[in-house]
């Protein structure tokens, strides 16, 4: 599929020259006429965290399942630490720690027994397991629940045990599907710190989540998928810039009386379709525009000239949530006008 869209950076932003740990090239998965994943190319270096986001049915789980060998791609290749996920599925299993979105509990099994079983399933010798199980329990804060039955744990507790299970065989790459789902704020902060710590230890992480502020805080890279197509890939800031072909600006006024006058001037100065929102209670005017820096300066000058009491005139940073909404809600409408603008700048990307 050849779609002109916002720039997608297939190269790792902070490329170090080392071979990537995660290397997806033109990965496609079709079920009959339905395309679940379309020509996805991504790379990720060691010690980095990639946030994979997209609406339901975007192709995130398909990507993950291809990486862990649960499904096979129709075409393209997926490699983890140079090992092909299709040809060498058994070796990949030892390199990857996979935490699915559903826990996978066994009845009447205590947490320590559960972890011991998965350690044994990864062929860890019993003496090694005896050391490793307490280690991962300490790392994930699950030590206090070692004697509890796994099915009796709350969702948040199960998430932690799931992460402990994922870390047991000390994998190079961690693939975590919704790891912070169901966690309380305190546990979420702890999980965030833990993931950052793991990345510091050199582990490469691929994380999906619907809690975008969490991802924005921990991920060096973010990839946005919709309908199986990679819409954007880069750092959170890059993605914000990709979205903000229309930037959001906010004018703070010294008095609410000036709100209507300021809004009138702004409306005259920006594109007719630009959204201008007045807030007399907060004495602010917020607007989204594609005007250049120079024109934005002219708007400020005009406001000051007519006597509007401006206390602040600033750009509101586009956060990940906003970027995500832009891509998912208006994927087609964004792509087309944006492509015109980008083509004029000479930037066209095949996705």
């Amino acid at each position: 599929m050849n779609v002109t869209a916002l720039p997608v950076e297939n190269e790792t932003p902070a490329s170090t020259g080392e071979p990537p740990v995660l290397d997806l090239q033109n990965l496609t998965k079709r079920y009959g006429s339905f395309t679940a994943l379309d020509d996805l190319s991504l790379t990720l270096n060691a010690g980095q965290i990639l946030g994979l986001i997209g609406p339901n049915g975007a192709g995130k789980t398909t990507t993950i399942k291809i990486l862990v060998g649960l499904i096979r791609p129709t075409s393209g290749s997926a490699k983890i630490a140079g090992v092909d996920c299709v040809q060498d599925a058994m070796q990949v299993k030892r390199l990857v720690g996979y935490m699915p979105d559903k826990f996978g509990a066994y009845d009447n099994m205590r947490v320590r027994e559960y972890l011991d079983f998965f350690g044994a399933a990864f062929d860890m010798p019993s003496d090694q397991r005896a050391k490793r199980v307490p280690e991962v329990m300490e790392l994930t804060g699950t030590e206090y629940m070692k004697d509890r039955f796994v099915e009796s744990l709350s969702h948040g507790m199960q998430q932690r045990v799931g992460l402990a299970r994922t870390l047991l065989h000390d994998p190079k790459v961690l693939i975590l599907d919704e790891p912070v789902n169901g966690l309380d704020p305190q546990a979420r902060i702890e999980m965030r710190d833990l993931l950052l710590e793991l990345a510091k230890q050199g582990k490469t992480l691929l994380v999906t989540s619907h809690i975008l502020p969490e991802l924005a805080r921990i991920c060096q890279q973010v990839a946005i998928l919709t309908n199986g197509v990679l819409r954007a890939h880069g750092t959170v800031e890059d993605i914000g810039h990709q979205v903000s072909q229309r930037r959001t600006l906010e004018v703070h006024l010294g008095t609410a009386k000036h709100v209507a006058a300021a809004a009138k001037i702004i409306r005259k100065s920006v594109e007719p379709e630009a959204e201008v929102v007045e807030s007399p209670t907060e004495a602010t005017v917020r607007f989204r525009t594609a005007q250049s820096e120079e024109n934005l300066g002219k708007i400020l000058r005009r406001l000051v000239k007519v006597g509007v009491f401006v206390t602040q005139y600033r750009e509101v940073q586009t956060d990940l949530e906003e970027a995500f909404m832009s891509f998912t809600q208006n994927q087609s409408s964004i792509a087309e006008p944006a492509s015109d603008e980008l083509e004029s700048d000479g930037v066209t990307t095949d996705v």
Partner: protein, 552 residues
């Protein structure tokens, strides 16, 4: 509101395609049962003996169908709602406990009514042959079937209100059905005509069985009867027992349809390792293998899946297994010792018969619950996906699972070995019989385990897997007994022998020379059947596991 509940309980399951298949299969089965014995010559018996023979066979078939297929519906009714979270919504609605309960009871009875309705054309065919009274014979049989449905629906719902999972509810309900319908016939079969307390106890217990009530209605010899007539009003006693059971179970279940049903702690309890020295000592006295003691890591030489399976089963943990084995060993040795010491004047055949019945019942009850959920439990709880992301091969996973099922069965069998050895010592002439019985039981255990495992792998729900495995296994073991009940008329010796060749219970009975089975030569035909079925099952299970594990 009540109607809405009833519609949801009844119409929703009827929408499923498998229910349509199930109804068509039932109607066909009953039709074939009649067609097989429909008179083909121009003569008509004025006394209607022929139609009574056919109706007797048909009514036992109907009873067996009801006992095999029906209990799964009430057994899963409440527990599946509890698991899916909809019971909380129901209890939070203005519907009271009694309306929820009766909604469920009427819905499962309607399903029983549907099973019975499928049989009406066949019953009509029997009636049209003449010699049958609508109110005295056909009407009473259907009334009895309704009572049976009512009783087991109430018991199933009660079990369901206590169960923590659908499969444990099914296991317990089928255990109760097996116990009340079949095992209650055992003491009467062995002690009838002897006089004394045991004979009276046997007679009383027999009245709890719907099969005995049906036999008394249809004028057939009761299962295991030795041609002796009794004056007991079996039908009357069964009616009273069935209604009493229904009332008690209903009141009990309704009393649980409130906060109590959710008020169950899943606390891990105090670990024995954390107890004082004296506490640890006392637990050591009571438990050979303490379930509250922190278990060690899985030894590297053992298959981890096998150990996991043992640990996951509430009754599969070693302490339960040891208790079960100990009970079997003590019972078999006790029975044999009592006979040797002359406490009871029982023949060796009687002792052997009791032991065979107990063991086969235990195998048929345990094997499906152990083996049928081996794969379905993984599919249901998403464990299969996790296992597939480990480096373990499918073969290793399956080996671990099959070993985890066969080991308890073999332990139970081994537990009765001392009893058989003593028996062979008392009566040296029975050595060959004892040897053949042991082989029969061992093959039955392997057959029951492999067939249940193969059936179970086709289901993604544990409850459905266990229920189907029970129904198929009980059909194979018990349905030939229906043919046996019609021995001499309408079925000839060869037909009965062929039918019994499929039943492992009948094979064991014929080997031990149980009265009624001594004229049938079922070995080695039965061993061939079970061997071939086991081999097919052994091929089917891995083939299916590879199929579902292959990356799509």
């Amino acid at each position: 509101m009540f109607r809405a509940l009833l519609r949801r309980e009844l119409v929703t399951p009827l929408r499923r395609r498998r229910m349509i298949v199930f109804q068509i299969a039932l109607a066909t089965l009953f039709g074939l049962l009649i067609a097989a014995r429909w008179p083909t010559d121009g003569q008509v018996a004025l006394m209607g003996a022929r139609s009574q023979e056919i109706f007797r066979l048909f009514s036992f078939g109907l009873m067996a169908t009801l006992l095999l297929l029906f209990p799964v519906f009430p057994a899963t009714s409440i527990v599946s709602e509890k698991k899916s979270g909809t019971l909380e919504l129901l209890l939070n609605s203005p519907l009271g406990a009694w309306r929820i309960y009766f909604g469920k009871l009427v819905a499962v009875l309607a399903l029983a009514g549907m099973i019975l309705a499928m049989s009406l054309p066949a019953a009509g065919a029997c009636y049209s042959m003449g010699g049958l009274s609508l109110d005295q014979e056909i009407g009473k049989v259907y009334l009895l079937l309704f009572l049976v449905a009512l009783q087991y629906a109430a018991i199933g719902l009660l079990v369901s209100s206590y169960a923590q999972s659908a499969d444990s509810a099914i296991r317990l309900t089928y255990g109760i059905v097996l116990g009340t319908a079949l095992l209650t016939l055992g003491p009467h079969s062995f002690f009838q005509g002897t006089g004394g307390t045991l004979a009276k106890l046997g007679e009383t217990l027999r009245c709890l069985s719907p099969l005995a009530a049906l036999a008394s209605l249809s004028g057939a010899d009761s299962i295991g009867s030795q041609g002796l007539m009794t004056q007991t009003d079996v039908m009357g006693r069964f009616t009273a027992w069935s209604l009493l059971c229904t009332v008690i179970a209903s009141v009990w279940t309704m009393s649980r349809l409130n906060h109590k049903i959710f008020d169950q702690s899943r606390a891990a309890g105090t670990m024995s390792d954390d107890l004082s020295k004296s506490g640890r000592f006392f637990r050591r006295l009571f438990f050979l293998v303490d379930p509250q003691k922190r278990s060690g890591g899985i030894p590297s030489f053992l298959n981890p899946v096998m150990v996991k399976e043992f640990r996951c089963r509430r009754f599969g943990r070693l302490h339960w297994l040891l208790r079960l084995t100990a009970i079997c060993a003590v019972l078999s040795l006790g029975l044999t010792y009592a006979t040797t010491a002359g406490t009871f004047d029982w023949g060796v055949e009687t002792i052997g018969g009791i032991m065979v019945v107990m063991q086969v019942a235990l195998i048929v009850l345990i094997a499906p619950s152990l083996a049928a959920p081996l794969l379905s439990v993984e599919f249901e709880h998403r464990g299969w996906q996790l296992l597939r992301t480990t480096p373990m091969s499918i073969g290793r996973i399956l080996r671990g699972k099959l070993f985890s099922a066969i080991v308890p069965l073999m332990l139970v069998l081994c537990a009765t070995m001392p009893g058989y050895l003593v028996m062979a010592y008392i009566e040296p002439g029975m050595q060959l019989q004892v040897r053949r019985v042991i082989i029969c039981l061992a093959i039955t255990a392997v057959f029951a385990m492999l067939v249940s495992a193969a059936i179970g792998c086709f289901f993604s729900r544990t409850a459905a897997a266990i229920a189907t495995a029970y129904a198929i296994l009980l059909s194979i073991c018990c349905l030939p007994m229906l043919i046996w009940m019609g021995r001499d008329a309408p079925f000839g010796h060869d037909t009965v022998e062929t039918a019994l060749s499929f039943s492992s219970i009948a094979a064991a009975f014929s080997v031990i020379q149980m009265p009624g089975f001594e004229h049938y030569d079922l070995i080695p035909a039965n061993w061939w059947f079970m061997g071939i079925a086991s081999v097919i099952s052994l091929i089917v299970m891995p083939a299916w596991a590879y199929r579902v594990s292959r990356p799509q």
